[in-house]
C-alpha cells in the first residue's frame, strides 16, 4: 500500500511542478490576499511616528493605546499578521478542493481506469490524493511565510522550531480532513462543475465563519455559535498561537478537535472513495 501510494504521490508532485503557471498562481494568490487584506487594514499606520500631528509624547501614548486595542481585538499587533496566520489554513482548504477537482479529471481523462485495472489497493489512489495536497500546502505555506516575513510579519518572540512544526501539523490536519471530504465526493461524481458549485457553497462560508480573517470574539452571537463548530476556527487559532504567540487558553483542546476531525474524515473518506471507485 505504501509503495503504490508513493508511486502515485510522485505523479501528483510531477504534475504540479510541471504545471508552471498553476504553480506561480498558487503562490501569488495567497500573497495577493494578505497584501490586500492585511496591509490595507493596517490601523497602526494611521498614526505614524515619523510626522506626528501632535506632540511626540502624546503620539506615543496614543499609539500604545491603539496597539493595546489591537492586541485585545486580534491578539496580534497588526491585522497583516493576524490575517496571514489565518490565511494559511484557508489555503489548505482551497488546495483540498483542487485535489477533489483532480480526482474528477483523472476520471474524465480515463486515467482512473488505468489505475483501477492495476493490481494496487484502491485505497492507495485515495491516499495519494491526500498526500498530494499535503505536499502542496507544505510548499505553499513555507513560501507564504517566507515572503510574509519579508513583508513585516511579526513572529512571536523567540519562536522555535517546535512552534513551526506545530503550525505545520495544524495545516496538514486541515488539508487531510478537507481533502478526504472533497475527494470522496469527487469519486462519486463525473462532473467537475458539481464540485466547483459545492466548493462555492461551502468554502467562503467556512472561511467567514471561522477566526481565519476575523476574530470570533467580535462576531455577533449567532455567528459565534457557528464559528465554534468550524474546524478552521481551531486551526486558525492554533497557527496564530504557534506563530504569533496569541493567547488561546488551551492549545491541546484545539489540537484534539483537529485530530478528531482529520482522522474521522480520513477514515470515512477512504471508505467512501473506495466505494465510489467500485461504482459502474
Amino acid at each position: 500500500m505504501l509503495y503504490e501510494t508513493l508511486v502515485l504521490l510522485r505523479r501528483e508532485v510531477v504534475k504540479w511542478v510541471n504545471r508552471r503557471p498553476v504553480l506561480v498562481i498558487s503562490i501569488v494568490t495567497p500573497l495577493f490576499w494578505i497584501l490586500l487584506f492585511g496591509k490595507s487594514f493596517n490601523l497602526l499606520r494611521l498614526i505614524s511616528l515619523e510626522a506626528p500631528p501632535f506632540p511626540a509624547p502624546l503620539a506615543e501614548a496614543f499609539q500604545r493605546y491603539v496597539s493595546s486595542l489591537l492586541v485585545e481585538l486580534f491578539g496580534t499587533l497588526d491585522y497583516f499578521t493576524y490575517v496571514t496566520s489565518g490565511i494559511l489554513v484557508v489555503f489548505a482548504l482551497f488546495q483540498s478542493m483542487f485535489s477533489g477537482v483532480s480526482v474528477v479529471f483523472d476520471k474524465r481523462l480515463g486515467y482512473l481506469t488505468r489505475l483501477l485495472v492495476a493490481p494496487i489497493p484502491r485505497g492507495s489512489i485515495f491516499l495519494a490524493k491526500v498526500g498530494g495536497t499535503l505536499f502542496r500546502v507544505t510548499v505553499l505555506s513555507a513560501v507564504l511565510l517566507l515572503i510574509a516575513d519579508m513583508a513585516g510579519f511579526r513572529f512571536k518572540e523567540g519562536i522555535s522550531i517546535i512552534d513551526l512544526l506545530g503550525a505545520w501539523i495544524v495545516v496538514l490536519l486541515v488539508a487531510s480532513g478537507f481533502t478526504s471530504i472533497f475527494s470522496s465526493i469527487a469519486f462519486h461524481i463525473n462532473n467537475q462543475e458539481v464540485l466547483f458549485a459545492l466548493a462555492n457553497l461551502v468554502n467562503l462560508p467556512l472561511m467567514f465563519t471561522s477566526s481565519a480573517i476575523f476574530p470570533v470574539e467580535q462576531m455577533p452571537e449567532w455567528l459565534r455559535s457557528i464559528a465554534v463548530l468550524n474546524p478552521l476556527t481551531y486551526a486558525a487559532d492554533l497557527t496564530r498561537y504557534f506563530l504569533v504567540g496569541k493567547e488561546i487558553g488551551d492549545p491541546i483542546t484545539g489540537l484534539a478537535v483537529l485530530l478528531v476531525f482529520a482522522s474521522a474524515s480520513l477514515l470515512a473518506g477512504y471508505h467512501v472513495s473506495v466505494k465510489g471507485m467500485e461504482k459502474d
Binding site: Y3, E4, V7, L8, R10, R11, V14, K15, N18, R19, R108, L109, G110, Y111, T113, R114, L115, L116, V117, A118, P119, I120, E278, D280
Partner: protein, 330 residues
C-alpha cells in the same frame, strides 16, 4: 480448466432496465487470439470490463487465468493487461513518465522499471518521443502509448478493446504485426472490433455479439462455411421500393431466399450459384431504381447479416465520428 486462459460463464450485466450483456459464455484457450465482433452498443466493452474486473457482473462469473473476476479480482489484475477503448494516458505527463508509472504500479522497481519502459517504448516506436508531453502526441501515437502502458508488465492475457479505432491503414497493419508478435510469445489475446477483416485476419476464433448476446462462435472459416452458395446484394436508390422489389424477386426465385436488409436500402438474395440466375434477376429489376448489384463471396460480414438482418459496416464508426467521440469524453 487449466488449459483455458478465460472462461466466461453466463455473464450478465444490466444497467437499470438496459441489458448490456445477457448470458454470455465462452472460453479462450491459452495462447489463443479471440475476437468479439459486433456493432456499436452490442456489449463488447461491457464484456471486456467484466473480464478485466473494472465492473462487477450482475450475475454469472468468469475465470481469468484461473481466478474468479468476482471473488479474486486482485489476482486477475496481476495477470492481465488492458488497452481500453478510450484513452487513459495522462496527457500532462510525458510518454516516458506514463509508462514508468504503469511499470511501478505492477510492482516493477528501480532500474528494472526503466528497462521495461524502454523496451516497450522502443517496441512501439515511441522511444524518440518519450520526453514529449502526451498532449502533443498524434492520435496514432497516443494509441501506441496506450499499448505500451499495457504491455510494460508483460501480461499473460491481453485485452484490446477496439485497438485500431481511428488508426490509418498503415498504423493498423503495424498494430496487427504487434498482435502477431505477442501471439508468437504465447500471450492470450482477446480483442473486440467491428471490422470483420480485422477479426478474420487476427483471430483463431471469433464470437459475434449482438444486443448483448453471442449469436455465433467459431473459427472464421467455420463461420463462413455456414453460409452456402452466393449472396447477391441489390442496392436500392429508394428504400420504399424494397417491398415491391422483394415480391418481384420472390416470384422469380421462390419465397424464403430474398430478404430486405438495412432498412430497405439493400435486398439480399441467397442463391446456389450467382452467375446462372443473375441475368434473370437483372431483368426482374427493370423499372426499379437500382444503385448497384453485387455478388458477394461469404465473409464474416455476411455471417453477421445472416444472423442479425443488419449490416455491420453501416453501424461502424468512421474516423471522423471517432474523433467526435473522443472530444465528447473531454
Amino acid at each position: 480448466m487449466e488449459s483455458h486462459a478465460i472462461v466466461a460463464d453466463r455473464l450478465v450485466k444490466t444497467y437499470g432496465n438496459l441489458v448490456a450483456v445477457s448470458d454470455v459464455s465462452f472460453s479462450i484457450g491459452r495462447g489463443e487470439t479471440f475476437a468479439l465482433l459486433g456493432p456499436n452498443g452490442a456489449g463488447k466493452t461491457t464484456t471486456i470490463k467484466m473480464l478485466s474486473t473494472l465492473t462487477k457482473p450482475s450475475s454469472g462469473d468468469a475465470l481469468v487465468g484461473g481466478y474468479s473476476v468476482v471473488r479474486e479480482p486482485l489476482k486477475v489484475r496481476r495477470l492481465i493487461g488492458l488497452v481500453p477503448q478510450d484513452l487513459t494516458a495522462d496527457d500532462e505527463m510525458t510518454g516516458w513518465e506514463n509508462v514508468l508509472v504503469s511499470a511501478r504500479l505492477y510492482g516493477i522497481r528501480g532500474k528494472k522499471a526503466e528497462e521495461e519502459a524502454k523496451r516497450v517504448l522502443e517496441l512501439l516506436g515511441l522511444w524518440e518521443h518519450r520526453d514529449r508531453r502526451v498532449a502533443t502526441y498524434s492520435g496514432g501515437m497516443r494509441r501506441k502509448l496506450e499499448i505500451a502502458m499495457s504491455l510494460v508488465h508483460s501480461p499473460e492475457i491481453l485485452f484490446l478493446d477496439e485497438p485500431t479505432l481511428g488508426l490509418d491503414v498503415q498504423s493498423r497493419r503495424h498494430l496487427w504485426d504487434y498482435v502477431f508478435m505477442l501471439k508468437r510469445q504465447g500471450v492470450t489475446i482477446m480483442l473486440t472490433t467491428h471490422y470483420m477483416e480485422e477479426a478474420e485476419h487476427l483471430s483463431d476464433r471469433v464470437a459475434i455479439i449482438d444486443h448483448g448476446r453471442i449469436v455465433a462462435e467459431g473459427a472464421p472459416e467455420e463461420l463462413k462455411s455456414r453460409i452456402r452458395g452466393d449472396r447477391i446484394h441489390v442496392e436500392l436508390a429508394d428504400p420504399r421500393e424494397a417491398d415491391k422489389v422483394v415480391s418481384a424477386l420472390n416470384e422469380l426465385l421462390g419465397p424464403s431466399s430474398v430478404e430486405p436488409a438495412s432498412g430497405g436500402q439493400v435486398v439480399v438474395i441467397s442463391v446456389q450459384e450467382a452467375s446462372s440466375v443473375l441475368p434473370d434477376i437483372i431483368r426482374a429489376l427493370t423499372g426499379y431504381r437500382v444503385k448497384s448489384v453485387n455478388v458477394v463471396k461469404p465473409n464474416l460480414e455476411e455471417v453477421f447479416l445472416e444472423l442479425t438482418g443488419r449490416s455491420l459496416r453501416e453501424e461502424s464508426m468512421d474516423p471522423a465520428r471517432f474523433r467526435l467521440h473522443l472530444r465528447r469524453l473531454r
